[in-house]
Amino acid sequence: MLDASTLYGLLGIFLASLGLHATILQRDILRRILAINILGVGVFLVFIATAYNGPGVAPDAVPHALVLTGIVVAVAATALALALQRRLEMLRRESDDE
């Protein structure tokens, strides 16, 4: 019998796999950045699923804190990646103009 924690854990692994697949295979950099974000959500889901102890029981706070940290680090990495992508496109445009 499947319980909620297992269901969401497996869903997280599946989402992470989908994200990893697209991260490797997509060619467009924006799409890759988006795919890495979905990969991250999958990993977070595994963490939170293991922290869940059923209704009415306090969940484990340590994975929650880790995921909170993870969300902020993920958005920082996304912002840096997007800035690099923008710079790359600017350089490409300049070399096209020459």
């Binding site: 319980d3 697949h21 295979l25 969940p59 484990d60 902020v72 680090v73 958005v75 992508q85």
Partner: protein
């Protein structure tokens, strides 16, 4: 054991469909919008799994700020660079099988760990020590006391990313001033966002909320003001930079200052813990808001350069 309810099945299916559409839609704009919806549905899942702190952060940062960043990046794009020839099928097949292998291995490891786990050992330690942490929300206790190292380094990562973004060029061009309807709406919304951010910051000591959620809300307010074309109200020049660095700086300073009284680095004295955590969180909120707003600008603000020129003149 918690039986699955209908809600779980529905949420799981919705998340899967949204993920597939976000990853493989032909239209990139559609992908990004679906990704934002995906983030909001994920926030529902966090709430369902008893993680309201994470739900708030996901809705504000993972879905809101990340979505805004992606949309701004899409707007920068020149048309005509999206026609890329597809990969040869052998590459697709190889990667697909490899990823299936990785996924199955991870699932096996996860199921094995679930079957052999013997109660929430760390979670019980957190509950047992909560009284000494200075706050009563276990997540805030872990973030700012028990595992304060992680949070300190997280602020360092955010600051490093900000320096990286600003090193890469000037900000993107500001949007045109919005029409009267939007301006009026923004004038109503912004004070509410500031109020909500203050509330989340304060309530984080004993209920879901805290510096990250509050900082993200403030940043969202800043982005909305920026999008309405009225960015003149932001602090200019050095102030925004000092604000962005203050979260990391104050945290580090407090961590070192407590060492004066025979404590380890970041080991707050029990009586002071609550006030020190609040002090760190106030600056962390302002710093997260300033950093997220600055990375949204996409580079160093042009106003800083004007500052410098006027100083030279």
């Amino acid at each position: 054991m918690t039986p699955i309810i209908l809600l779980d099945t529905l949420l799981a299916i919705i998340l899967l469909v949204l993920a597939v559409v976000a990853l493989h839609s032909e239209n990139l704009r559609q992908s990004i919008f679906v990704f934002i919806v995906f983030g909001l549905v994920t926030a529902l899942v966090w709430a369902r799994l008893g993680a309201p702190d994470v739900a708030l952060a996901e809705a504000a940062i993972g879905s809101g700020i990340a979505g805004a960043l992606l949309l701004a990046a899409l707007r920068d794009r020149q048309p005509g660079c999206e026609h890329i020839e597809p990969r040869p099928s052998w590459q697709v097949l190889t990667v697909t099988y490899l990823v299936i292998g990785v996924g199955l291995t991870a699932s096996w490891a996860f199921l094995d760990a679930q079957a052999s786990r013997s109660g929430p050992a760390i979670g019980e330690m957190v509950q047992a020590e909560l009284a000494h942490s200075g706050v009563s929300n276990p997540v805030t206790a872990v973030l700012l006391n028990f595992r304060a190292y992680d949070t300190l380094l997280e602020l360092a990562v955010l600051f490093a990313a900000l320096i990286g973004v600003m090193a890469l060029g000037p900000e993107r061009s500001a949007p045109q001033a919005a029409g009267p309807l939007v301006s009026h709406f923004v004038a109503w919304l912004t004070p509410l966002l500031i109020l909500a951010a203050g509330y989340l910051l304060w309530v984080g000591a004993h209920a879901p909320g805290g510096a990250f959620q509050a900082g993200a809300l403030l940043a969202a307010g800043g982005i909305i003001v920026r999008l309405s074309g009225k960015s003149g109200i932001f602090p200019k020049g050095a102030w925004l930079r000092v604000l962005a660095a203050s979260g990391y700086g104050v945290f580090l300073f407090v961590g070192l200052a407590v060492m004066a009284g025979d404590n380890a680095f970041l080991q707050y004295p029990s009586d002071w813990a609550g006030s020190l955590i609040l002090l760190i969180e106030i600056f962390a909120t302002l710093s997260i808001a300033a950093s997220l707003l600055l990375v949204y600008l996409g580079g160093y603000p042009n106003a800083w350069m004007e500052d410098k020129e006027s100083q030279h003149a």
